[in-house]
């Protein structure tokens, strides 16, 4: 857990440090949009930290289009 926390912290600092001045210059609407990206980021960060198997973007794709894709590939694999 500590290792994962450190990874998140370092990655976050490396990515967001250069953006601080941009955020300060941005308007209220931009800040709200930026904050809305915090929701999926937080969800995924908790998922990563706790090593949980919660639903993910891949599951969304797999349960929707992935099912049809699976049928197509199954048909293609039948000899």
């Amino acid at each position: 857990m500590m290792e994962r926390m450190l990874v998140l912290l370092l990655t976050g600092v490396a990515l967001f440090a250069v953006n601080a001045s941009r955020v300060r210059r941005s308007g209220r609407r931009e800040r709200w949009i930026l904050a809305s990206f915090g929701v999926p980021a937080l969800y995924l960060a908790v998922m990563y930290l706790t090593d949980s198997d919660w639903p993910n973007l891949h599951d969304l794709a797999n349960q929707s289009l992935g099912r049809i894709a699976h049928l197509i590939v199954k048909w293609l694999e039948q000899t």
């Binding site: 370092l10 980021a41 891949h58 289009l65 049809i68 699976h70 293609l76 000899t79």
Partner: protein, 368 residues
């Protein structure tokens, strides 16, 4: 937002970006599944996919000719109206998140499977996404210039492996043909059209960045680079098949496996280390281009004044996706080989085809 006119590239730089994008991660990932699905007929599947890719490219260029000053999202808005276009763009953004996470994860998988098996994957994923984000900060012009060197080194490494692998090849491994009928060929087409040829539709987002005086040549460059990508990838598929034989379909990162076999005299061995780095440079260029497109499409969707504001958040989410999406490598392979081609076709290509069709009909009706 900074005007498009301030960030421009020449048709030659567009060609460099395009070939980096097309060959980037596919040169290392294509041979193994293609041979696994289509066997000795992989070359035919791949050629058919390339031709379908050319057709798709003609649609991309047609839309660009019809709406030369609109970026892709504006073009969709104009054709479908705000709401329908909004749905298509949200799906496109989700698809791009998935695509970028797959590429980042693939780089991590490559290193932890081949060259640095003891190192945790987050090291590679973090470094890739951070460097890609800083490259996108530098802008598309810098990417166009920088990728020339990276692609040059990668292509040189591939050409060297191909030449050095020739003495190891056996032509009999290319036969027999059509042993299991047409379905394996169709399977190969399904996979290779989704990855990489179908993905070329994303260059609709990059095309408006080409300088106006250079636009006339853009189409010719893109067709030429599609043919070059086909030739290079096909050569790699055939060399892999001829070197590893039936095993080629089961060996992961088979081009790297071919490089491992190369031995010149008794003193040039271990070429795979240099080759591996060059190959991964290709995946990095593709990741950067996809991150640029994802960031740009998202910024335009939200109509932001600063097009780089969301870049760190997008990069951070992608990093987290790459770390949390899959428990095993088999799940990842399944997602890329089964689900991904269909996602590209439905979320990416269908809206583009519809947009081209509606534009064509409107123009014809307008003429009457």
């Amino acid at each position: 937002m900074r005007a498009l006119g301030k960030q421009t590239i020449s048709a030659g730089q567009l060609a460099i970006l395009y070939v980096s994008y097309m060959i980037g991660s596919s040169i290392i990932n294509i041979p193994n599944p293609m041979i696994h699905f289509a066997g000795n007929m992989a070359w035919l599947s791949f050629t058919v996919s390339a031709l379908m890719g050319m057709l798709l490219l003609s649609l991309v260029l047609y839309l660009f000719r019809c709406y030369p000053d609109d970026e892709y999202t504006a073009c969709l808005n104009r054709v479908f109206g705000r709401w329908i276009a909004g749905v298509f763009i949200v799906l496109l953004i989700l698809m791009l998140f998935l695509m970028l996470a797959y590429i980042i994860l693939d780089i991590g998988n490559f290193f932890t499977n081949t060259m640095m098996v003891e190192t945790p994957m987050y090291v590679f994923n973090t470094l890739t996404i951070v460097v890609a984000a800083y490259t996108v900060y530098a802008g598309i012009e810098v990417m166009g210039r920088m990728f020339f060197l990276l692609m040059g080194s990668m292509m040189l490494a591939v050409v060297v492996i191909v030449f050095l692998a020739v003495p190891l090849t056996r032509t009999e491994t290319l036969l027999p043909l059509f042993t299991e009928g047409i379905k394996p060929v169709l399977h190969g087409i399904y996979f290779s059209f989704g990855f990489p040829f179908g993905e070329l539709f994303l260059f609709s987002v990059i095309l408006p960045f080409v300088r106006k005086d250079s636009r006339r040549d853009a189409g010719k460059w893109l067709y030429a680079m599609t043919a070059l990508s086909w030739l290079l990838l096909l050569t790699v598929v055939i060399i892999t098949l001829m070197t590893l034989g039936p095993l080629a379909g089961d060996r992961k990162f088979s081009l790297f496996a071919v490089a491992r076999l190369i031995k010149v005299g008794n003193f040039i061995v271990g070429l795979e280390a240099i080759v591996g780095i060059a190959l991964i440079a290709g995946s990095f260029t593709k990741a950067t281009i996809v991150l640029f497109i994802l960031n740009y499409v998202t910024a335009r969707f939200f109509k932001l004044d600063d097009d780089k504001l969301l870049l760190p958040a997008i990069s951070f989410i992608t990093f987290l996706l790459s770390m949390t999406m899959f428990r095993t490598e088999d799940e990842f392979s399944f997602a890329v080989q089964v689900g991904w081609p269909f996602i590209v076709m439905t979320v990416g290509i269908v809206p583009l085809m519809l947009a081209a069709l509606i534009t064509l009909l409107r123009r014809n009706m307008g003429r009457r």
